[in-house]
Structure formats: C-alpha cells, structure tokens
Amino acid sequence: MDKTIQTPAEAVAAIPDGATVMIGGFGGSGAPIELIHALIDHGAKHLTVVNNNAGNGHVGLAALIEQGRVDKLICSFPRSADPSVFVDCYTAGKIALEIVPQGTLAERIRAGGAGIPAFYTPTAFGTEVAEGKPIAEFDGRSYVQERWLKADVALIKGALGDAHGNMTYRMAARNFNPLMATAATTTIAQVSNIVPLGGIDPEHVITPGIFVDHLVEVANPAQEEELNRAEAVYP
C-alpha cells in the first residue's frame, strides 16, 4: 500500500464540479495552501466549502472564492485582516453563507466522521442559529439538535506523513485538520515530510492512516500570513 502522490495537481485532479470540500486550517495555520492553489488550477467549480473562515487577502481560500469557484461557504467566522474577497462576493450575492458556531462546526464534522447523524448541544439555544431545529430537554436543560457534516473531499495539512497515511501536525496547525480527515469520502493531505513507515512513533500519530486516502509532500509549505505580508495574489 502506498498512498503517496507526486504532485498537488495529481492529488486534486479527480475533484468534480459541485463537490463539497472541507478545507482544514484556522486562518493561515494548518491551511493547505498548495492543495487549494492546485484546486484553483484544476478548475472545479460550484463547490461548497467548509472552513472555519472565509479567506484572507488574495491567496488560498480567498483566491478560490475570488476565482468564482465557491457557490456556498459553511464557516463560523467570515472575518479576517483582509476579508475583501469574501465580502465583495457575498455583497454581490455570488456566494451563499451558512454561519455555524465554531464548536458546533467542529462537532458536526466529528459526528460526520464518526457515523453519528445528529447530536444535541446547548450552543445557540434561544438564538436565531437554532431557528427551525429540533429542541429537546435533558435533565432540565434545553438543547439544540444539530446534524452531521460530511464532504466529498477534505484537503488537509500536516507535518509528517507515511505511505499508509499516518500523520502528525505542527502546533496549532492541527485545529480542524484531523476532524476533516475523518468526515470526507476522499481525504487528501499535504505534509511537509513523507517519512518511511516506522518513521513516525506510533505514540505520536494523531491521524491514523485509515482516514487518509492520498498524501503529497510539500516541503516548506507557504504560510498565508507571509504571503499576505508580501501582498501575494494567486494565480
């Protein structure tokens, strides 16, 4: 078994129009910039994207939106230092937005990956986010029913990976990446280093390889914050 793929372009080549794509990261940390840029080059459109944010500047997710590829965004916080791309698209009615509280977003993805179709959370009870959703009382307190979230594809970023798909992450770049790995039909990971089997201490594996379909090595990956400081624009 060897899940490694040589280039980001090959890794994303099968993503179809209309796909639901989870993209890991929180702001720039853990954002798989090279995979997103390969997806832009690939050309898939009418995508539904799940991410915590809505892009920053003109690279990564913001560039994907700027190229008109995203019909709908599911996120918790569509603000950033430079959210102009998303704001312009949203204001022009070109992109739909579903706001999900951050913990609910994480748990919906976790539930999707864990085979739990719905769960109850205290979050958002009594707010407009809960409108239309079933409410139930447990031990005297009210909870909102939320449904799982699954995707056709997850694009994630890690630190080390091996041919079986075992992965580690770097510091706070972990965030949504291990959750999204579990919740997509096809999970595509970019890692800074692909190491031989046994090169990752089993005690340190965060994402076991069963959740990962394809890995591509991107040594020295671009960091969104640094691209934005350099005022980079993609493509």
Binding site: F26, P78, G103, A106, G126, T127, R174, E224
Partner: protein
Amino acid sequence: MIDITDIKLSNAQIAWRAAQDIEDGAYVNLGIGFPEMVARFQPEGKQAVFHTENGVLDFGKAPALGDEDWDLINAGKKAITLKPGTSFFHHADSFAMVRGGHLDLAVLGAYQVAQNGDLANWSTGKGGIPAVGGAMDLVQSAKRIAVLTDHVTKKGDPKLVEACTMPLTGVGCVTRVYSSLAVIDIENEHFVVREKVPSIPMDDLQSLTGARLHTDGPVTDLICPKDLA
C-alpha cells in the same frame, strides 16, 4: 446627557479590574480583542491557564515582531508563544473543554447585556456579515461568563438593557459585567451593583442604564491604576 468622558475607565482599566477576580489555576478563555488584555494584568500569585479555541492551552505572551511562528496563534489569529506546560489539541477536543463545562470563566465583549443575563455580541442584525466564532459555545457552557464593555454606546445609548434588541448570542448566560463605570452582577434576572467609579452618583449611573439597578449591601468604590500599559 451626563458627560462621562473624564470619569469612565479605559479598556485597559476594565481589563485590569476583571483580572483581579480570576483565581489562581482557573481555566479561562478570553475573547478576541479587548478581553485579550485581561492576560496582561494578572495579579502576582494568581496565574490563570488560558484556553484558545483553535487548540492551545496554557500559552505564553506575544512574540517579538519578526519572531512569529504562524502555526502558533490564538483565536484572534495573533501570534503567541509556547511556555512550559503548553498543550495542543484538535478543535473537537477544544470545544469538549468548552461545552463540557471545563472552563471556569469566559470573558467576552458585548453589544448589549440584558438584566436576565441574555447577551448580544455577534451580529448587529442590521445587515453586514455575521460572524459568531466560538462565542455561542462559550457563553452557554463556561461556569462563569464575564462581559467587559463600555457602559453606554458611542452614541450614549445604554448597553445594559431590560431586554436585548439585537440577535442573541446566548440566553441567561452572563454572570458579571465589568463596565466602564461599574461592576455589576446578574442575579435572579436583576442587575446588582457591586462597585462603581466614585465620582458618579447612583442616580446618574441609573440614568445611563437601560434597566433597573439593584443593590444588595454596600456599593464599593471602583478604583483602578491610572497608567496601565
């Protein structure tokens, strides 16, 4: 209208006052922006453990300019640093800490706080792009919810009100408000004044508040250091 320009506390002073109430070893989440200042003013011997939604517990101060590692940030996307004791975890674990009631305190900003503890702080409801982040999770589940806020809006309207008119973040959740004029608890659906800046008479404080203020014992002077960096 009463001019409070010269008597109201600065944001740093409000954050300083809130920091004095945090017990040693408390697990605390600080909201993006102004509440983040609380970390600067922890008293000697009272070290809280700070949680940030994006998966870091017990982190250090901001690095020097140029030393940032953008894989090491807080929920406000600002660079932070490691310290002995730091741990990392994914987002589902991060919000298990929140929803599971493991945080002692969450500190947030507010557009409006109602006397029953309802909080509105995520959307003005007047168009624009809503952004909730982790606020709705935090306010329903941390053991105590503290709000830091100016007592009135820039236009002079009360931010402490009978009932919120803006979209709610959470219901009946706020336990204490640190405003630019007073420290006010929310108990049994009432605002209860604990402290106020010495130079404002109670009647004036009441007139700047959108709901009835109650007292329960003495109201002490709210005095903060003047020069807070």
